[in-house]
Symmetry: C2
Subunit: 277 residues, 2 copies
């Protein structure tokens, strides 16, 4: 693992690190904020998964999360959204290929064998964090924005017991019924829609739900709201009797201004779960 940068921030350290990933068979870069408390021992961690076109950098510099993570003594990890590099397949569209991994393990050419973001986030990166940093892997929570909200919800439901809480900002809620989803799931996973179900938060909510609290914010003026389909997940959550808070925020759009506006409440929500017991 190579340290690309470390900046002192909010009493702790905002680092950026690169490592050779076995899951994605390429170099992967991630951001990690460690609060001051990490000097004295392992701290809880909140994962932040980003949206289409983002790298590890966007939320790290624009979401304003370090302020509140420092206050709560929580680490933040900002993974990349896909494998990258010259040997990695890509597409001219902004919503497929590099920057658009959709948090799945691709089985189809040309995306296999690099596009294994599920394994990278479910197995490889947490193990690396636990080995190299003062991170308490027994206290994990997850959030994300847009495609990253999809990733947060599907990882949380797909890995029972892993995350104590899950939240999302303007998540893609029902990708197998959305233009932000059908194209990508077909490309990465093939035509069999039964395989997609493990990567659709609405379908997973109907099936298994989440064993902890859920918080979801979406702006009523989100320019992509028809692609996000919060109504599908809302219905599934209500039917499942899932412990959850769903909020439609008047006038907010899809930008980081929306994300940062509600970051304090999301981190407080996760802190409640991470510091319980």
């Amino acid at each position: 693992m190579e340290t690309l940068s470390e900046n002192r921030a909010f009493g702790g350290t905002q680092g950026v690190y690169k490592h050779a990933s076995t899951a994605t068979q390429c170099d992967m870069t991630f951001g990690l904020f460690l609060p001051e408390e990490a000097r004295d021992g392992p701290v809880p961690v909140l994962w932040y998964l980003s949206g289409l076109t983002c790298t590890h950098d966007n939320a790290m510099t624009k979401a304003g999360a370090q302020t509140w993570a420092a206050e709560q003594g929580i680490a933040l990890v900002f993974p990349d959204t896909s494998p990258r590099g010259e040997g990695v397949a890509d597409d001219d569209a902004y919503d497929l290929g590099q920057g658009a991994g959709f948090y799945v393990n691709a089985t189809q050419a040309p995306w296999a064998p690099h596009f294994n973001m599920w394994d990278y986030l479910a197995e490889e990166l947490p193990a690396l964090l636990g080995e190299k940093f003062a991170i308490d892997l027994d206290r994990q929570a997850i959030t994300g924005h847009s495609m990253g909200g999809h990733g947060a919800l599907t990882l949380a439901m797909g890995l029972p017991g892993r995350f104590r809480s899950v939240s999302a900002f303007a998540p893609i809620c029902n990708p197998s019924a959305s233009d932000w989803g059908r194209k990508q799931l077909t490309a990465y996973l093939g035509e069999d829609e039964a395989v997609w179900a493990r990567h659709d938060a609405t379908l997973m909510m109907r099936e298994t739900g989440f064993d902890g609290p859920v918080l979801i914010d979406t702006g009523t003026s989100d320019q992509f709201i028809d692609l996000l389909q919060p109504e599908a997940l809302a219905q599934a959550i209500a039917e499942k009797r899932q412990e959850a808070t769903l909020r439609l925020q008047p006038g907010y759009d899809h930008s980081y201004f929306f994300v940062s506006s509600f970051m304090e409440e999301h981190i407080a929500f996760h802190a409640d779960a991470l510091y319980r017991d």
Copy 2:
């Protein structure tokens, strides 16, 4: 004036606007955050002047200021750092020309007549804000980062009675004795160093000081600290018996992580002055 974007943020609105400037004889773009309170009438305003290479956008998206401005009911204005466009002179160096206006009125070719950032910020933009938005021009404060810290300090001292308080993050403190200054002041103002004195915070502090409180933060690990010369301004402030707080922040560097780490305290400092009486 043209609205380029408006995003709901922290209960208020983060806007970006463009207008034809008479001071710089080109189109100028600025960001303006208006808190919720601006719906009910004019609110106080904090100016944020940015550093070398920045546009209006950098601090608007990375400094985390809206969080605290919303809490305090204060507007934030993020001007650009220079005139821009095809008809505007430029230089290959990152620290001269477009993105590096140094907050002066240039008298030398090829920088005159566009590079009039002093007049733009001292006269034209405040008048526009007062005319178009719910901004209370009797309650103004100013801050900035690096070159923008230089701009904030020199505008504050050069316009007595205009700003109730001034703060700066890692300001260029003594440009007439720094490689971040001598080259630019020569280019924009000519060889006569007596003319430079109105644009050097250390020299202005020795001469006139500031008629209000001053707050300055600089990181001890700032990679540019030898160019910033906080020691020169510290000495001048102490000699002048200026009301001021100077802080050297251990381990912090020149980045926005440093700026955002102390933004809450800077905005609270300005709020104290803006809401006095």
